[in-house]
């Protein structure tokens, strides 16, 4: 039956199978055509699109950090260099993974809490597979320990990098500032592509001001990477352009002398060449070690520095605002001569105090017994207050202010380091606005002896002294002397001439000679500097009662006994006929400013005498 059935249908079945096979064959061909069409679409029509994607996959641009420019002093001494250090770098991964890794690493190499925090902070800014520094400046021992255990830490490697180093430590910190790690906030403001390979940037001082010269131009290498981000080979390299080397006008030797002379004090020294405005020395004491900031301060270190009552982070040369005291007197005398209000020979009789007509108030001279018969020369040499009371009364506050402004007080000196503050030249309108009070004649008298509201920074004082020494031809103070580009090309900075203060030459001469008497005259307030002096020197002492400045409030509370003592200010220039150096020295609550100025001048002028070719 079954067999019969099969036999009966055999031919029909074969035909059926033929039909079905052809049908299925047709379906298969249709499917294959779909596949071919798809391949044509992908490989021919979309080819360019996918080719681009494929290149984006495996070609990647890695930035190369440019070498930061070096900084030299005027004699070519290196004061900021790049030293090779060995850093422990970790390929960025997931946070949890990273924390475990750090735990493991810290078993063989100590990782501080600060380093860990810094690392995690940086980790957020980096992409996967980018390298993040975990620990910088490995010691040789740590290096050896790591290499022995390296197989346990894939993705962790030791990288030799150049790190900023300041060989003189705190000596140049008020000038140079320091570099530090770029933080998240700064990253947003930087040219991201140029800083793609940089971890550090100038944070303060010259390092910050000339960041655009020092940093250089980033380089790139085009590399082939595999799917896990490892570089397989380098295809092309665009070398970075190193930052420019900077030569500063600072004289290291002089800086050293001033720094050493300030030891034990709290204060600042600024020395300027009056012939061109170049800053020869700029010292604030005490100072901090900028190398600490390169490494990154630990919390403890930062707190210690903050808690130091002498405030080493406070750059007194640029930001310290002091009452000018009697150093204001030569400038006012010059104005009075110029205005014809007094003549150099005019004499007054000083009984030891001054009274405004119709007013009971007595304004004392610092010498209660009085100076007797006083002319201009004696008034400056002995710093006679009574003489300047009557002089400032005659001059009036308006002309006093104008004179001070002419000499650059009350405004930034535009020193190419930034940071500085403007000081204060007080005027009736200022008083009205800030204190809501009228200007009293007493305020003018106080201004006349530099005890009122007037404030000046050491760099302003030095700058004004240089202008005074150069008989009115001022220069904006500058630090940058030369730029050396990678190609070796040198670019010199030109002196920045200021508008000449037009005063008759004889009046300048009068003031110079009067200032010489401060040292030369046996009655001069700094006569003790005259001993062994090998050159002619003009100066003016100043003593300022300490004002409760905002910056100093904390400081005052901490050092109450010393706080009662006055600040000493001394401005000077030498030699008188051809001034080569003008200095301003401030010592807080100490009288040593004059001696420090002499030490600095000796060092500069005697060294110059030995090397006249400078």
């Amino acid at each position: 039956m079954k067999k019969h059935n099969t036999l009966k249908n055999h031919a029909q079945e074969v035909r059926l199978f033929y039909q079905r096979t052809l049908f299925i064959g047709g379906v298969l061909i249709f499917l294959v055509l779909c596949l071919v069409a798809r391949l044509f679409w992908l490989q021919i029509i979309q080819n360019r699109f996918y080719l681009t994607l494929s290149q984006q996959n495996h070609i990647s641009f890695l930035p190369i950090e440019p070498k930061r420019g070096l900084i030299y002093d005027r004699n070519g001494m290196l004061i900021a260099e790049n030293t090779p250090v060995f850093n422990l770098e970790v390929m960025a991964g997931r946070k949890k993974q990273m924390l475990n890794l750090i735990d493991e690493i810290s078993k063989i190499i100590p990782i501080s809490q600060t380093e860990k925090e810094l690392f995690l902070k940086q980790l957020k800014q980096k992409r996967l597979y980018q390298e993040v520094t975990l620990k910088i400046k490995l010691t040789e021992e740590e290096l050896a320990t790591f290499y022995v255990n390296q197989f346990r830490f894939p993705g962790v490697s030791v990288k030799a990098r150049l790190s900023r180093h300041y060989p003189e430590g705190p000596l140049f910190s008020p000038v140079l500032g320091y570099v530090g790690r770029i933080n998240e906030h700064e990253l947003k403001q930087l040219d991201a592509s140029n800083y793609a390979a940089s971890d550090y940037m100038g944070k303060l001082g010259i390092e910050k001001f000339y960041e655009f010269l020092l940093h250089g131009r980033v380089g790139y290498q085009q590399v082939e990477v595999d799917a896990s981000g490892h570089v397989v080979r380098v295809l092309q390299r665009i070398l970075p352009v190193s930052g420019e080397n900077l030569f500063l006008s600072i004289d290291s030797h002089l800086q050293h002398v001033a720094y050493d002379a300030l030891k034990g004090e709290v204060g600042a020294v600024v020395a300027i060449d009056p012939q061109n405005g170049q800053v020869l020395a700029l010292v604030s004491y005490p100072a901090y070690d900028p190398n600490l900031f390169v490494a990154g301060l630990t919390n403890q270190q930062y707190q210690d520095i903050q808690a130091d009552p002498t405030q080493p982070l406070y750059n007194r040369a640029l930001r310290g605002q002091y009452s000018m005291g009697s150093t204001i007197k030569p400038f006012l005398a010059l104005a009075a001569l110029d205005e014809g209000i007094i003549a150099a020979e005019d004499k007054i009789y000083d009984v030891g105090y001054y009274q405004i007509k119709g007013n009971q108030h007595i304004y004392h001279d610092w010498k209660r017994t009085g100076h007797g018969v006083v002319d201009l020369k004696r008034a400056i040499a002995e710093s006679c207050d009574t003489y300047f009371y009557q002089l400032s009364m005659k001059l009036g506050i308006e002309r006093i202010d104008n004179t001070l402004w002419d000499f650059g007080f009350g405004d930034l000196t535009q020193l190419d380091v930034g940071e500085e503050v403007s000081g204060l030249v007080a005027s009736p309108s200022w008083k009205k606005k800030r204190l809501g009070q009228a200007w009293f004649p007493g305020d003018t008298l106080n201004a006349g002896i530099g005890q009122g509201y007037m404030l000046a920074t050491p760099v302003q004082l030095a700058h004004a002294t240089a202008t005074l020494a150069a008989k009115g031809q001022g220069y904006l103070p500058t630090l940058l002397l030369l730029r050396q580009q990678e190609s070796g090309r040198l670019l010199r900075t030109l002196p920045r001439k200021e508008e000449v203060i037009e005063i008759e030459p004889s009046h300048w001469q009068t003031i110079h000679l009067a200032m010489q008497q401060v040292i030369a005259s046996p009655a001069g307030t700094a006569h003790y500097l005259n001993r062994g002096l090998k050159y002619s020197m003009a100066g003016k002492t100043g003593t300022a009662q300490v004002f409760s400045l905002k910056q100093n409030q904390k400081y005052n509370a901490a050092m109450l006994p010393k706080e009662l003592r006055d600040n000493k200010i001394f401005i000077a220039f030498a030699p008188i006929d051809q001034p080569k150096i003008a200095v301003a020295v401030v010592t807080e609550h100490s009288l040593k400013a004059t001696l420090i100025a002499r030490t600095v001048m000796d060092a500069y002028l005697e060294e110059q005498a030995n090397h006249p070719a400078n």
Binding site: N9, T21, Y50, L51, S54, E224
Partner: protein, 380 residues
């Protein structure tokens, strides 16, 4: 030429009038299929050498597997179709039993229970079903009058969907779809009514949402990703995106042998196994992929021709089903690599690195050859 012609001439001279006209028939091998397969294997090895990053060890292992596969093909070709007819139900029963065993005590590989460890060898019962299922269907229909009646079709559906369901549960969606496809193909070959065919298609569309409900999360992921690879470019969409980049960047002539960046730099995952077709497309371009497709079409076309020439129902259906198994493997793999189909783990026949499926497919083709060289005997 002479090499190919030599056996024919030789045998014609020596054995005129004998049923064994050529040495190929003596060996029960089909010349065209052997030629196409050899071509595919050579091309496959060339691609694999590049895909495996020029590791000779990998190549050696593959050659060893190929030798084994050829041996299996040869052995299968020696067994006459009647023997297969006799053993078909037992073979099916055993493979189904193993399939159940694997679900109960199978080994877990890549998140799925597929292997059965029998001490010296690891058996993947789902592979056995690629052969035993079409064989069982051919057996079932061989003495029924065709086109099949409703009752027969229902039984056939049971034969298909019971193992398919078990395999899908492992879960191995790719193989489940593969055997379902080849099983349904046998039904179509057997003359399933067009009306029912259309009805089945419609019901599949209706059942699809229900299937969705029973799917594993990873299977759903794959389908969602198939529909939109950009949905998860670094996760499940990564495979297909990288594969399309590899193919698309190849262009007309490709980047050149050993020059593919997608595979050599590890962007393309599974580049020696499931995604080896993309390596071919990247390094040899459209020309390369078309050559590969042509060789496969030659194999499938020849095998279909053989099934048409077969003398009895069992042989026809078996050869047709096995041919479709081969074609579906090829099409599902290339469809997946080109983004036409969702990602299901089916290797490219005879090219992908790995042994199991290669041996199965070669065994199937061995059976096809057995049928090819014995049509006269049965017909007599």
């Amino acid at each position: 030429m002479s090499i190919l012609n030599f056996p024919t001439l030789w045998s014609k001279a020596r054995k005129k009038g004998s049923p064994y006209v050529t040495i190929w028939e003596l060996l029960h091998l089909d010349l065209i299929l052997v030629f196409a397969l050899s071509l595919l294997l050579v091309v496959g090895l060339i691609i694999l050498y590049s895909a495996a990053n020029q590791e000779v060890v990998v190549l050696n292992r593959q050659i060893l597997r190929l030798a084994l596969a050829w041996l299996v093909l040869f052995v299968c070709a020696q067994i006459p179709p009647q023997r297969y007819l006799f053993w078909a139900p037992y073979f099916f029963a055993v493979s189904l039993g193993l399939l159940i065993a694997v679900l109960l005590l199978g080994h877990i590989g890549k998140g799925a229970k597929r292997w059965l460890d029998v001490g010296f060898i690891r058996i993947q019962p789902s592979e056995l079903l690629k052969i035993s299922l079409p064989m069982m269907l051919a057996y079932y229909f061989h003495d029924k009058s065709l086109p099949p009646r409703l009752g027969n079709v229902i039984v056939a559906f049971l034969i298909i969907f019971i193992p398919a369901g078990l395999i899908a549960k492992q879960p191995d969606l790719g193989t489940a779809l593969l055997i379902t496809g080849s099983g349904l193909a046998v039904l179509v070959f057997a003359g399933l009514s067009w009306r029912w065919l259309v009805g089945a298609l419609v019901s599949v569309v209706c059942i699809a949402p229900l299937m969705w409900h029973f799917m594993h999360t990873y299977q759903r992921e794959r389908i969602l990703t198939f529909l939109n690879p950009e949905r998860d470019p670094l996760g499940s969409g990564y495979h297909i995106i990288q594969s399309k980049i590899a193919l698309g960047s190849g262009g007309l002539f490709g980047k050149g042998w050993l020059q593919g960046t997608q595979s050599h730099l590890q962007f393309l995952p599974e580049h020696a196994t499931d995604f080896i077709f993309a390596v071919c497309g990247e390094e040899f371009g459209l020309v390369g992929t078309l050559i590969l497709i042509s060789i496969n079409l030659l194999i499938v076309g020849r095998a279909l021709y053989i099934s048409m020439q077969a003398s009895d129902t069992f042989s026809r259906l078996l050869a047709g089903g096995l041919t479709l198994t081969f074609f579906i493997s090829f099409f599902v793999n290339t469809g997946m690599v080109t983004g036409l189909l969702p990602v299901v783990g089916i290797p490219l026949p005879l090219v992908s690195y790995g042994g199991t499926s290669m041996v199965t497919l070669m065994a199937g083709l061995g059976i096809v050859m057995s049928i090819a060289t014995r049509r006269k005997l049965i017909a007599a």
